[in-house]
Assembly symmetry: C2
Homo-oligomer: 412 residues x 2
């Protein structure tokens, strides 16, 4: 018998009607002969309302109590969904994180799953029940309620699937799969039938917000086959698995990810002596600023230029730190540009194919787009460009690699 874990997010269970629609879909999966574990989020809007109440009481709400509060959101959904399943004549049983026993560490609001007790769930599945589990939450060894942080319901689903050795973990969402790029930017963006975990990680960390990066990492680590599907329409969605599983139709390039939320900072004329990179990035990291791309070029006269990008909201803070530092280490100047964007070409096919980068640069040159920074990894080439060229660049690359055409892009 096939065992499926199906996860439905806040929008998918955002009203009584939608909960009933989810119940129909789940009941159908069961009728088709599958064992089904459902993981659900809080109804959309609920979590924000709870956060608002907490903030009205405590400027920085207590972490432990915040988890007690937020976990009520998913608890409400599991009860309502179980009722909706029962109303359809489909046997069902709900469990909170504490009840399953999803054991986590005690990092409240950002806990990590340590262990999952399968006994009750197995027993219910074997007796023909659908098991409905509250996502996003667990319990500490002391019996305190914990939550997994943003996107935690995806993580719960993947962790349940791993623990139960499920055949597939299906993430239902408001899009019908993973696309070659954002369809709002490129009209003929195409839904991918499958991508590898690695590609998905590069795509989601780069701004294709279909799946939480943490849950993809988790799925990759435990080799849990994932599928992204629409909650609202039927369709095969996008399969996400290991390279073996997705090999059949491996394309050269899977997709183009991009983000406009970037700022570029440079510190020029840094003395070329050991320890300078640490002096620059130590205080940046201490200030809680995440650095994305880092480049170091040789400058003039025994000095280096160090350039990096940060999220745009951190521009002012990072720039202040650099100005102070520049004086201390007698660097020449600090340059800041918060009108940049990053575009990345992602595909495991790159590993075995040369010439991808030059084809990429050629396509951009044709459109007279100046490339400011370039970084590469095994399966990704990222460039930083002026923000105003972003859409043009994405479209040019989508065309150059014929991503709109499944056949043309098939691996040679």
């Amino acid at each position: 018998m096939t065992l499926l874990v199906q996860k439905f997010g806040g929008t998918s269970v955002g009203s009584i009607e939608r909960i009933q629609a989810v119940a129909s879909r789940v009941a159908e999966s069961r009728r088709a002969g599958n064992q089904v574990v459902v993981v659900v989020s809080a109804m959309s809007g609920v979590t924000n309302k709870l956060v608002e109440m907490a903030n009205a009481i405590q400027a920085r709400p207590d972490n432990r109590e915040m988890d007690v509060l937020l976990s009520t959101g998913e608890q409400t959904t599991i009860a309502l969904l179980s009722m909706a399943l029962l109303a359809l004549g489909c046997p069902a049983r709900s469990y909170t994180g504490s009840q399953v026993r999803i054991l986590t560490d005690d990092a409240h609001s950002n806990a990590r799953i340590l262990d999952i007790d399968q006994d009750k769930v197995r027993q219910d599945l074997d007796s023909g029940k659908v098991v409905v589990i509250a996502g996003f939450q667990g319990v500490t060894a002391d019996g305190d309620i914990s939550t997994l942080g943003r996107g935690g319901s995806d993580t719960t689903a993947v962790a349940m699937a791993a623990a139960l050795h499920a055949d597939e973990c299906q993430i239902f969402t408001d899009v019908d799969g993973v696309y070659t790029t954002d369809p709002r930017v490129v009209e003929n963006a195409r839904r991918l039938d499958s991508v590898t975990f690695e590609e998905m990680l590069e795509m989601s960390s780069l701004g294709a917000k279909v799946l939480q990066i943490r849950s993809v990492e988790f799925a990759s680590k435990y080799n849990v086959p994932l599928r992204v599907l629409s909650s609202f329409e039927d369709g095969p969605g996008t399969f996400i698995g290991s390279e073996d599983e997705t090999m059949m139709e491996m394309p050269l390039i899977s997709g183009i990810a991009f983000t406009r939320d970037e700022a570029k900072l440079s510190i020029l004329g840094v003395p070329d002596i050991p320890g300078m990179a640490h002096r620059v990035f130590g205080p940046i990291s201490e200030a809680g600023i995440e650095v994305d791309v880092i480049l170091q070029n040789i400058g003039n006269d025994q000095t280096n230029d160090i350039t990096f990008t940060v999220q745009r909201k951190d521009t002012a803070k990072a720039s202040e730190i650099l100005e102070v530092l520049a004086k201390e280490i007698k660097a020449e100047a600090v340059q800041v540009d918060d009108k940049v964007a990053k575009v990345s070409l992602v595909g495991v096919g790159m590993r075995s194919h040369a010439g991808i980068a030059s084809r990429m640069f050629e396509a951009l040159a044709k459109e007279s787009i100046n490339i400011q920074l370039i970084t590469t990894s095994e399966i990704k080439i990222s460039i930083v460009i002026e923000e105003k060229y972003l859409e043009l660049a994405v479209r040019a690359l989508h065309d150059a690699f014929e991503l709109g055409n499944a056949d043309a892009n098939a691996k040679q």
Copy 2:
């Protein structure tokens, strides 16, 4: 050190501001040197909203899932109240019914408390924390969430007080104590400083809805000193304890309870053979109808007249049953009157004092109020009268026993 259990109902925690006001009051009790355990209900309106959602999904929502759903209401309150206490610099910690481990049987939606684990609570109290506990809920031996039914938060408070041998269980509510009768009916109704458990039981079962009868029974059984106080104003409230504890100022009559929610039914000319009462009340009870007063008079010719009262909403159902029965057992007739009310005089002083009944009947006679039924217990005399005389009767009795005047009514 004095250990107090303080219970706040839905109205008292009905908004962020009210939760903050409750926190101030609790923090003050702690600052005054008390150990404090707080039991709270769901914010007013929340439970009804959850019930509505459930009913929109299942005509008769599943009991187990309903408890999962409803328990989120109190869970929300404990988190918010704990935050409010922490915001005031008062150390606090919340527990759901499952977390304390309030063990119940598995009668979902109407569970009974079997045992309470005190370890965590004691430990927190000893370390100076206020412990905030979700009322109304517990956990079954299987780990399922259970709820105690209506008024369950009072029961939780009393049970916690009993388990912890608390010095007092304080029930904060929207009235400032127990009154000699309803102040909306009698202007000079007076707050009682103290009443006995037995009096309180007679008063609350008769319609003075300050405390849930179940929690008073529980308090009486385990001899937990209770106090009813206003959440909104300061004041001593009303103390409710055993006869020993309240003896000091024992009055002859404590109060006058009444209910207009009554209907009177008679079945006349019932053959005087054994088993007839059972034939009448068997089907009534099977139909889930609660019977209050029962009287049986000797009629004519070897027949009896049986009269009883039920809640007014059950009139039609009860009357149908009687009509069918009357034919079967060849009774003469069925009479129904749903325009009656019940008035009860309550006081432990009655035990040792004769003449209360005649003084009562005299007062009513003076106002030309006809008494339809009379029943008495050790500490109570109840009469059923035409509903339209209800207010007049209550005022007449309140005056006759000088209940508006504390001194006049003191035990002689």
